[in-house]
Amino acid sequence: MENNILEVKDLKKSYKEFTLNNLSFKLEKGYIMGFIGPNGAGKSTTIKLIMNLINRDGGEISVFGLDNIKDERCIKQRIGFVYDENHFYDELSITEMKGIIAPFYKGWSDKDFERYLKDFDLPPRKKIKELSKGMKTKFSLAVALSHDADFIIMDEPTSGLDPVFRSEILDILASFIQDEKKAVLFSTHITTDLEKIADYITFINNGELVFSETKDSILENYALVKGGKELLDDGVRRELVGIRENNYGFEAVTSDVKKFRSQFKGDIIIEKPTLEDIMLYTVRGSKNA
């Protein structure tokens, strides 16, 4: 049995001003992976490559152990997708749009779809263009969940949504993943959402992989470090990324808190970081490098 729902290997895609460079990571069944990085890091590019909406320049992508281009139709039967923007025909009602999409999926269930409409308070007769951004996302999610998909891919689904909507979506994903044969890839720059539900975090910056690990090990190994300026010698600097200095002191992130603790004693404050801290300091570090 194939254990990986998604495996990305040495993925390459070049544009004039941006290159996705040898990206590799994998996602096992039963887990939610958060896919983070600043705007323009290559998150959407990666997702479009997985969905074969754009052509890759190199590398491999396999979904359910199958090549994403050779077995595209078979794979897409089992993928549910939610994108940042709404690309439905906006003159149609929810029911009409469903009527267009449903026949493409062998596993489509009207019963499931109607249940989600009810759960999400979506009025079936309402036109797509009359829906709010949150409702459109919920509609996409209802479609994604109504054809017995094993893999949900979401590109910035929570951007522009209020915290109540976001938390509802997170609950739905958490219950989706109860079935351990399934998996979710979830790109976002709202990292607090991921702290709640993600099992793995894949972080890319400037088209390059920074890390792809379990959330727990990341939060264990990384630390936010603060201290007086006088402590900031070359040895300390080498162990830190994204150092921010002011007249009084510095703040930075280390990726190996055990090593840091053992090497540097003194008045250094070591705190538990958030994913956002890790992302911000790493991005800043790469800009200064």
């Binding site: 479009k48 969905m51 074969n52 909406l53 754009i54 052509n55 595209e72 139709r73 078979c74 794979i75 897409k76 039967q77 993928i79 997708f81 994108y83 923007e85 690309h87 439905f88 025909y89 906006d90 003159e91 149609l92 009409e96 009527g99 267009i100 999409i101 026949p103 493409f104 999926y105």
Partner: protein, 221 residues
């Protein structure tokens, strides 16, 4: 494939109100002896072409090809459905003209009502087939904003082109070359000319479809 064709009809259900108005207009404007033999062609060509353009314009406006290409459907099928829909829209156009014509006749309006004739059918297939064979590859290569202007010229050329060519021929009726061409054509039985035209148009549509499929396979969304 059928899903994709039905989708194009459903997304523009409002356009069908337009087709009813337009065909009514055609019957009132062109129910004169001059257009006696061509009124169905005139109505159907415009209706079918406008519906085909509206379908692609709606895909483009909503960027719905991102959704379509995320569904379990082959890119080739999306294009094949577009080309097959040419025939569907021709049927829709003819049906609209016939039904509206019949309704007007029953209401006692002074219009010419008859069945669509064979020459009209060939003319419709030829015009729509050629228009789409040029339009689709350009639309899928460059996007709808860029084809808009091109489209207007294309439509005008096909709308007024034949009339102007006919006038030119009439004026230069004594020209030896034209006379000999016309003479040759006159000697070929009509059914042969018609089937020849149909065969050529179908071949053009097929070639255009293969080109568009190649373009669409490489397209990025």
């Amino acid at each position: 494939m059928l899903n994709l064709i039905l989708k194009d009809l459903l997304v523009q259900k409002k356009s069908f109100i337009f087709t009813v108005f337009y065909s009514t207009f055609v019957f009132f404007a062109f129910s004169t002896p001059v257009f006696e033999q061509t009124i169905y062609a005139m109505g159907t060509i415009a209706i079918a072409y406008i519906l085909i353009l509206t379908a692609t314009a709606l895909d483009d406006k909503n960027r719905s090809e991102i959704i379509l290409n995320s569904l379990p459907v082959k890119r080739d099928s999306i294009i094949m459905a577009k080309y097959l829909s040419i025939f569907v829209y021709i049927v829709v156009g003819i049906a609209t003209m016939m039904v509206v014509g019949l309704a007007l006749k029953l209401l006692g309006m002074p219009i010419n009502y008859r069945l669509v004739n064979g020459a009209e059918l060939v003319a419709i297939l030829m015009s729509i087939g050629i228009l789409c064979s040029i339009y689709f590859p350009i639309y899928y290569k460059f996007g709808s904003a860029n084809v808009r202007i091109f489209n207007i010229f294309l439509f005008l050329a096909l709308f007024f082109g034949p009339v102007n060519i006919a006038n030119y021929m009439k004026k230069n009726g004594n020209n030896e070359f034209i006379t000999s061409v016309l003479e040759t054509i006159r000697n070929i039985p009509e059914w042969m000319i018609m089937s020849g035209v149909v065969a050529i148009v179908l071949a053009i549509i097929l070639v255009s479809m293969l080109i568009t499929i190649r373009i669409y396979r490489k397209k990025e969304f």
